[in-house]
Amino acid sequence: MLSKRVIPCLDVRDGKLTKGVKFLGNVEIGDPVETAKLYYEEGADEIVFYDITASSEDRGILLRVVEKVAETIFIPFSVGGGIASLEDMRSVLLAGAEKVSVNSAAVKNPHIIAQGAEAFGSQCMVVGMDVLRVDKSQAVPSGYEIVIHGGRKRMGLDALKWAQEVESLGAGEICLNSIDADGTREGYELDLTGLIARNVRIPVIASGGAGSPEHMVQAVTAGRASAALIASIVHYGEYTIAGIKEYMHHAGVKVRRTW
């Protein structure tokens, strides 16, 4: 029986974690490789790196980080942020990432999803979607609209329609981030997660709003997600991944407990 996945997300800028990640003992660690190793050893099922490096000249720093991570951990990890071309995808995959995540670039040019799937396989094509709750309208009948540029630009594109389109273009997975829930720590946007997960056949990762292990249980039960993305609840040592998995297990969710 397939396990539900627990996926920590690390924001990286210029090769460093952007937020100091504090573990037990409050030691601040800014090194993405060491942090990835720690989460790997704690039982993370996968790791997401999100690159927020501003300039493309600094891309080389990220690739060196990806290479080091690939030599250190032996679970899948994905890299997103600023992936805009087949060449960007190729360099990240060759450096050792299992998957690449495209977001804004796919909204601007959906064809890139099909090209990536054709060149590297659907299994490594994740489409990241940033979604804002809006009033239902003719253009956005589901009441969920796609936004890009970190939530700053509304696209007049319906999230459900977009999810089905990316699936038909060959995406292997959707990482679904609710702008409304993100940072609130009040739980995932379960209506949105359920709506998308029920209407595509590819796996959906719930993202945005995790404040407790109970929220993660909700994401993979009521929300029907295959995986739950987390950040601050583990970065500051409040919860461990092993502890979260133990909680989910006792709540009746199948999770991987041997590593």
Binding site: M1, L2, S3, K4, R5, Y40, D45, A70, E71, F74, I75, P76, L93, L94, G96, E98, F120, G121, S122, Q123, C124, G172, E173, R201, I202, P203, R224, S226, A227, K254, R256, R257, T258, W259
Partner: protein, 212 residues
């Protein structure tokens, strides 16, 4: 030295990195001479069966592989490398290497999970293997270990060769073969410590054979 077969089917470096981490000497190669010298061969691969078969045929590596297997060279097929050693794949009705009788089938989209919901395709994530027979690759691997899968087709070999099964909408064969020639549907190189243990067990078997 373990040879990682290069037939231009996806990313071979993740297998290489896992072997490096375990201090297992290895080389990514498509040279028949190097393959022949190797203690054992890993046959990895992601992507589509059709293009992988074309690459193998164009380079005549299909014949090289069959000859090496006939000579008793240990081999480990992973993911697509596991499906392609069967007779046929339903992926674009491709004739494959026919080293074991069997067919690669697509997951039926009507299959349901334990909660009664339609399964996601691909089967992506961590799942367990229920061993049907003893297999040296799983020596000292915890019984409840899980492994990383990502695939839309699954191998269905002759029942005599099934070594382990996995449940996803149905029980499918995730480990098959015979002593010295194994095929895994999951990715040991991406399955944490239990996966690395399997690669080590393969290497140990190759070493023992070379000394036998």
């Amino acid at each position: 030295m373990i040879a990682i077969l290069n037939y231009r089917a996806g990313n071979l470096t993740s297998v290489k990195r896992a072997l490096d981490h375990e201090n297992i000497p290895s080389q990514i190669t498509d040279e028949p001479g190097v393959l022949k010298q190797a203690l054992g061969i890993i046959f990895p691969g992601v992507g589509a069966a059709g293009s992988a078969m074309r690459n193998l045929q164009t380079s005549r590596l299909d014949h090289v592989l069959k000859a090496l297997i006939a000579s008793g060279k240990p081999m480990l097929g992973i993911c697509l490398g596991c499906q392609i050693i069967l007779t046929e794949s339903m992926e674009n009705s491709t004739q494959t290497l026919d080293i074991f009788p069997g067919i690669s089938r697509r997951f039926d989209p009507d299959l349901r999970d334990e909660a009664g919901n339609p399964i996601n395709i691909p089967h992506m994530g961590w799942n367990s293997v229920s061993l049907q027979r003893e297999c040296v690759l799983f020596r000292n691997v915890p019984e409840n270990a899980e492994f990383y899968f990502v695939h839309s087709f699954y191998p269905d070999p002759g029942p005599a060769y099934v070594m382990g099964t996995t449940h996803y909408g149905l029980d499918f064969c995730s480990v098959f073969g015979r002593q010295g020639l194994w095929a895994l549907q999951f990715h040991p190189e991406k399955s944490g410590r239990p996966g690395l243990k399997i690669l080590n067990n393969f290497y140990r078997y190759c070493l023992e054979q070379s000394h036998a």
